[in-house]
């Protein structure tokens, strides 16, 4: 229902971001950056419509690794290896999408919306297929045993690893990239695309959540559940990720 709105707004944002990118680069990098779109468009023409979303993402991360290696004097891009961030609201709508590497090939806006919606669905499925163990009478499941528990006690089954809540998909990994999904208790999902070797992804995501809480949620003019267009969030996110090494 909101698709068209999302489409327009996300479109504006990405165009703006691209315009901003070159200002942060040195002249050499800028030259690289200028060459890059040319090669990427030529390769992408064939795969534009026919390749599934995940393949485009894979090739995008490969390309960007190659880019980073070819310019060793840009330690940032090698060390951070955070490719991009997607934020999905609790209804499965895309509310934020951004790349953190210059020249990273993008999906079309519509593909991002589809990716967000699909991931939302898959996440819900992974949650519901969590194996349910029959409840042995001797088992002291904390949910069933705690006195004064107000939650209706699940009758007849329990989950593996009692104590941990049912989370749904958390990591998705290929040889080329790793997708980490962090779902907040309020239902918002943060999807971070990183190099598979990147460590401390949880720390990065927690920091992103804090920045989101500060610069998006506390912005009185941000409408809840709508696409994020907060310049301060962009700025602090970029600055913080650049500052990490």
């Amino acid at each position: 229902m909101n698709t068209s709105i999302h489409h327009d707004q996300v479109g504006c944002r990405t165009a703006k971001d691209i315009n901003k990118l070159p200002t942060a680069l040195t002249r050499k990098e800028q030259a690289d950056f200028e060459h890059f779109p040319a090669t990427s468009t030529s390769t992408s023409i064939s795969s534009e419509k026919s390749t599934p979303a995940c393949c485009i993402l894979c090739s995008a991360s490969t390309l960007s690794i190659g880019h980073a290696v070819s310019t060793p004097d840009t330690p940032d891009s090698v060390a951070m290896a955070v490719f991009s961030l997607i934020i999905i609201n609790k209804a499965g709508g895309l509310i934020y999408q951004r790349e953190f590497q210059a020249g990273l090939r993008k999906l079309s806006t519509n593909d991002y919306l589809v990716l967000a919606g699909t991931f939302h669905g898959v996440h819900a499925i992974t949650r519901s297929i969590t194996p349910k163990l029959p409840l042995a009478p001797t088992t002291n499941s904390p949910a069933a045993a705690s006195p004064g528990s107000n939650t209706p006690v699940a009758s007849g089954y329990s989950y593996p690893i009692p104590g941990a809540s049912v989370s749904g998909l958390e990591y998705l990994e290929t040889d080329k990239f790793r997708l980490t999904c962090f779902q907040t208790l309020t239902g918002t999902k943060f999807l971070l695309f990183t190099d598979p070797m990147t460590g401390n992804v949880d720390t990065i995501i927690n920091k992103i959540y804090e920045l989101y809480a500060d610069y998006v949620m506390k912005n009185p003019f941000y409408q809840l559940e709508m696409p994020v267009r907060c310049e301060a969030f962009d700025r602090h996110l970029g600055a913080w990720l650049r500052g990490r090494t």
Binding site: S146, T151, S165, Y209, K218
Partner: protein
């Protein structure tokens, strides 16, 4: 999670992760808002209560993300844990007070928060028009904040003040009742 553990978490976050702001600024700002509302609604205090609750609700829906991001706590196992979390972590980090949780209903779905101190109401004397003392709940914004925040973590609650020292009562007491867990967004386990 026990009350003491919640208190420790609240204390820790308050000390290390919270930017502090002058208390008078908060008190005066909030006082101005309430006074202005009383003026705008021509001392219709029911309306003022309602507006304060609504403002709080909008704050709560946003503030919960900050609470979760800063505290890093997981989902509460039951409503008693939720009560401790609100009193000892939530109120602690945002207002630096830790109200007492008490007067549990037998079904564990209702409790009271007793405020020994209330930074919003420092220096306040209610207008002596004969009605404010009986009708205005000065700190009603807090009810809305709780309602908004808990709704975002899948709990529908009802909150209202039952007494206020500003009205001459002995204590300031807020009654919080769980209406239901909102199931749509919940992982199946926690319903």
């Amino acid at each position: 999670m026990s009350t003491t553990k919640a208190s420790r978490i609240g204390e820790e976050i308050w000390k290390t992760r919270i930017d502090k702001v002058n208390a008078e600024l908060v008190t005066l700002t909030y006082g101005t808002i309430v006074a202005q509302l009383c003026q705008d609604y021509d001392s219709d205090y029911q309306q003022v209560n309602q507006q304060l609750d609504k403002m709080g609700y909008n704050i709560g829906m946003r503030l919960i993300e900050d609470f979760l991001a800063k505290s890093g706590v997981g989902r509460c196992a039951n409503f008693r844990d939720t009560a401790d979390m609100i009193a000892k972590v939530g109120f602690k980090i945002f207002l630096n007070v830790a109200p007492t949780v008490t007067n549990w209903a037998s079904d564990n779905n209702q409790f009271s928060l007793i405020f020994d101190e209330n930074p919003l109401a420092d220096f306040v004397e209610l207008p002596d028009d004969g009605r404010a003392q009986d009708e205005l709940w000065f700190s009603n914004i807090l009810c809305g904040v709780l309602r908004g925040a808990l709704e975002m973590v899948q709990m529908q609650i009802e909150a209202h003040f039952v007494s206020d020292v500003l009205r001459g009562d002995d204590t300031t007491e807020m009654r919080v009742s769980l209406v239901r867990y909102i199931e749509d967004e919940m992982p199946p386990e926690e319903e």
